[in-house]
Symmetry: C2
Subunit: 353 residues, 2 copies
């Protein structure tokens, strides 16, 4: 097969981890007889510096024409202390999600047996954890009307959802649940919010179309607790944009494998794959960042965007092998053992595919 | 001294745990020569059943006249599966907060050495954790305009904050930080929300009035992570209503002492003290619920509402003693040891004051 992949390296360690994911993907393509064309494009602070906006039209064109997008990370400290600066990298992220119609963010949290003791949680609490959040990504309070009144003394953000927006996200949730343990949890705050009541009634109405799926409804505050107490009691969770932002990040640290968690954003026009970690500015250029989350995001891309399960499994297998053999960057290296460089990990994976 | 305390037992196990807090408070009053008048009033499902509304005007009158309010828990399963029912216990809670002007919810999370191994987190992660959230409680998306458009197909919830609302909450945060480690964390989502930008700029402008306090600004998703990773890196945290709802519940489970955490809501007209746990309907009437969170809430009341530190410390000391000696309800009883009844725990505390 032939693929055209948009390559959005972004800021900070983005280019370094993307580099390793490209290496591994190219090696997989060679092994399985595929041909990948990578088309790099600017985004984030790098794009602001070059052309003044964080998500340039040219980048959007590249993404729209691609079969999938592989994304690094964006964000730069020079914008951090002034969230109200007129142009910020995050705006590019939101614009990109909206313009590409990436309405569902797929965020798995699972454990690697060899990393389980890195978790802040006790082993018996997280063993077997394997859950997936579907976070709505192009609606809600992120995209509602916002502004000031009363000479700036009053601020507002409007949270808006339509039934159709809930349906298309929930549909993906039910479908995903069907391929897994057939358990779906709808996370909302229906005891307080009208948007949550719309979410709940919409999902309730869809239950009859998926009679095999057991659906539970839980309040966001209760889920924030149970994720820490019994993360392995969850399977597929669906939720709105802001709740998803908070809960997926909370979930990511419980596994002990935060630096390894991949994600996908899927939707109307294309799909995008990215590590869940940030741009880690302090490590920029040092060749020390962990590339595995990006490499596992590429695995998700092979499986979900191109339907190539063997290719994805081959990547996951070699990543597991590298973890077991301790071929890891400094964030994962056991005390007193050698820490490998970002590029060395990539090279090892390619050599051991 | 003489106190008039409004007693809102509420639903489920509320009356049982309140009963023990009254016992202990009366014993403390006797020991320290105070006189307490308790004025019971209806709230929650109990109030709906009796008079049709969850926060009757008579109850409001009782609270307004009292020196403080001691609150049990509200919520009943018959309302749970229909969050859009026209009358619900939670509405009473929100109305009560609003009408009593309880704009700041004070939620400590700390560890009891004897319970530390109950935590889902590893001992070294939570040892020394002693943080306090100040959650804004009468503004934000909970109280903004909400409703439907387009024949019910579109739902909206408006989040609104004024600078004055942020200031009065932040002021309490700075003052609390001054009495503790002088570290304050403002939790927001200023990279996306306009209300968060108002929060951040308002707190930033107040920094100069508290030169000794070190203020950090963190995004809500980052805090959701760090609370699990390094809870003991926090001291005082201030945040808006919805973020506070999620994060305080998340924080409550990390200590391993969830069933023991007290809380206070303070504001314009009076202050209210309640355990953070819910109404635990399955346990209603069984005399098995843990009364310690309510008893420790009464201790907060003695200290914060009445300025009686010795009385509060006496309660905390005897609670500690009961934990050390295993005079605990079934939720805390070690395997193979006797579980005490709710009322037995109260009796023991009174006898050992
Ligand atoms: C950077 C920020 C706008 C973004 C979000 O809140 O969506 C990030 O936290 C994420 O989860 O991808
Ligand atoms: C019952 C509910 C409305 C309430 C809230 O969200 O404030 C509860 O979760 C709490 O935190 O006291």
């Amino acid at each position: 097969m032939k693929f055209n992949i948009a390559l959005l390296a972004g800021d900070g360690i983005g280019p370094e981890v993307i580099n390793e994911a490209v290496k591994v993907s190219d090696a997989i393509a060679k092994k399985f007889n595929h041909e990948i064309t990578w088309t790099p494009a600017l985004t984030g602070a790098a794009a602001i510096d070059a052309v003044g906006v964080p998500y340039p039209d040219e980048t959007h064109e590249v993404c729209m024409k691609a079969d999938a997008v592989l994304f690094g990370a964006i964000g730069h400290p020079k914008y951090d202390n002034d969230p109200s600066a007129p142009v910020r990298p995050e705006q590019g992220l939101l614009l990109m999600r909206k313009k590409l119609g990436l309405f569902a963010n797929v965020r798995p949290t699972f454990t690697f047996p060899s990393l389980i003791d890195n978790s802040p949680l006790k082993r018996e609490r997280i063993e077997g954890t394997d859950l997936v959040f579907l976070r709505e990504l192009t609606g809600g309070i992120y995209f509602g009307e916002k502004g000031r009144r009363d000479d700036g003394e009053t601020a507002f953000d409007n949270c808006v959802y339509t039934r159709a927006e809930v349906q298309r996200l929930a549909k993906k949730g039910f479908e995903l649940a069907m391929t897994r343990s057939k358990k779906l949890c709808c996370v909302d705050k229906a005891n307080v919010l009208e948007t949550s009541r719309l979410w709940r009634e919409t999902v309730q109405a869809m239950e009859k179309d998926y009679p095999e799926v057991t659906v539970s409804y839980e309040f966001v505050d209760a889920v924030a607790m149970r994720l820490v107490q019994w993360p392995n009691s969850y399977d597929v969770l669906i939720t709105e944009n802001l709740f998803g932002d908070i809960l997926t990040d909370e979930a990511s640290v419980i596994s002990g494998s935060m630096g390894l968690m991949p994600s996908a954003s899927v939707g109307e026009h294309t799909s995008l794959y990215e590590p869940i970690h940030g741009s880690y500015p302090q490590a920029t250029g040092l060749n020390i960042a962990n590339p595995l989350a990006t490499i596992l995001s590429a695995a998700m891309m092979f499986e979900d965007a191109f339907g190539l399960k063997d290719e994805a499994e081959t990547i996951r297998a070699v990543v597991n092998k590298s973890l077991e053999q301790g071929i890891v960057t400094e964030d994962l290296a056991a005390k007193g053992t050698k820490a490998y460089k970002t590029s060395e990990v990539g090279d090892w994976l390619v050599a051991n595919l």
